[in-house]
């Protein structure tokens, strides 16, 4: 059972366009929602993260929108560039009893930016 559902599975966007990836979660105990970017053969790297008390967070061309009541959040990439072509994972996390992150990933979106 996938606790974090992510869509679309793949996305093709023209250079300069807006890339939008959506995620939904069920467990209201999640309290931290990061997005990771992964290039082929590399480890995931944190792109941007949000907490549920904030509805939007923007860092450069990347924006997370968060809808707590709908249990949904999304990543918007403005002015998409070929260098943004990668796999993007949303995630939801909560702290364990030991204070460690219990990170649950979405299924990933393969983003391709075409010239």
């Amino acid at each position: 059972q996938q606790q974090v559902k992510q869509s679309p599975q793949s996305l093709i966007v023209q250079k300069g366009g807006i890339s939008i990836i959506n995620c939904a979660y069920e467990n209201t105990a999640f309290d931290y929602f990061p997005w990771y970017q992964q290039f082929p053969g590399k480890g995931p790297a944190l792109l941007i993260a949000i907490r549920p008390d904030v509805s939007e967070k923007k860092e450069g061309r990347f924006t997370i929108s968060f809808n707590k009541s709908a249990k949904q959040f999304s990543l918007h990439i403005m002015d998409s560039q070929p260098g943004d072509s990668a796999t993007y994972f949303c995630a939801a996390s909560m702290l364990s009893n030991f204070g460690n992150e219990k990170l649950t990933f979405g299924t990933g979106t393969r983003l391709t930016i075409i010239p």
Binding site: Y32, P34, F89, N100, E101, K102, F105
Partner: protein, 111 residues
């Protein structure tokens, strides 16, 4: 800046063999996590350590074991390897904040 170091980067083993992966966290990071990522899949949490003690356990098979040593490096030991164990294995480390820093992974191929 120093990152998480994993070795080996690539490993090829036969079925029923044993493999050991190593992870060197970022200096002063006290928590280490191990994840397994199958082809085209999302990373799945295996196990974590905080201050050299096992903290949380995920979907780690009984054939696998891990530990964190006094210098904070961690090793993932995998025995009786199966074809389905072929995957990318990531180590991540963290300190006081909530961000996990991932290494570049070790690609295990079981033939």
């Amino acid at each position: 800046a120093a990152g998480v170091i994993q070795s080996p980067r690539h490993l090829i083993k036969e079925k029923r063999e044993t493999a050991t992966l190593k992870c060197y966290p970022i200096p002063r990071h006290d928590t280490v996590y191990w994840y397994q990522q199958g082809p085209g899949q999302d990373p799945q949490f295996l196990i974590s350590f905080y201050e050299k003690m096992q903290s949380d356990k995920g979907s780690i098979p009984d054939r696998f074991s891990a530990q964190q040593f006094s210098d904070y490096h961690s090793e993932l030991n995998m025995s009786s390897l199966e074809l389905g164990d072929s995957a990318l294995y990531f180590c991540a480390s963290s300190s006081a904040g909530r961000e996990l820093f991932f290494g570049e992974g070790s690609r295990l191929t079981v033939l």
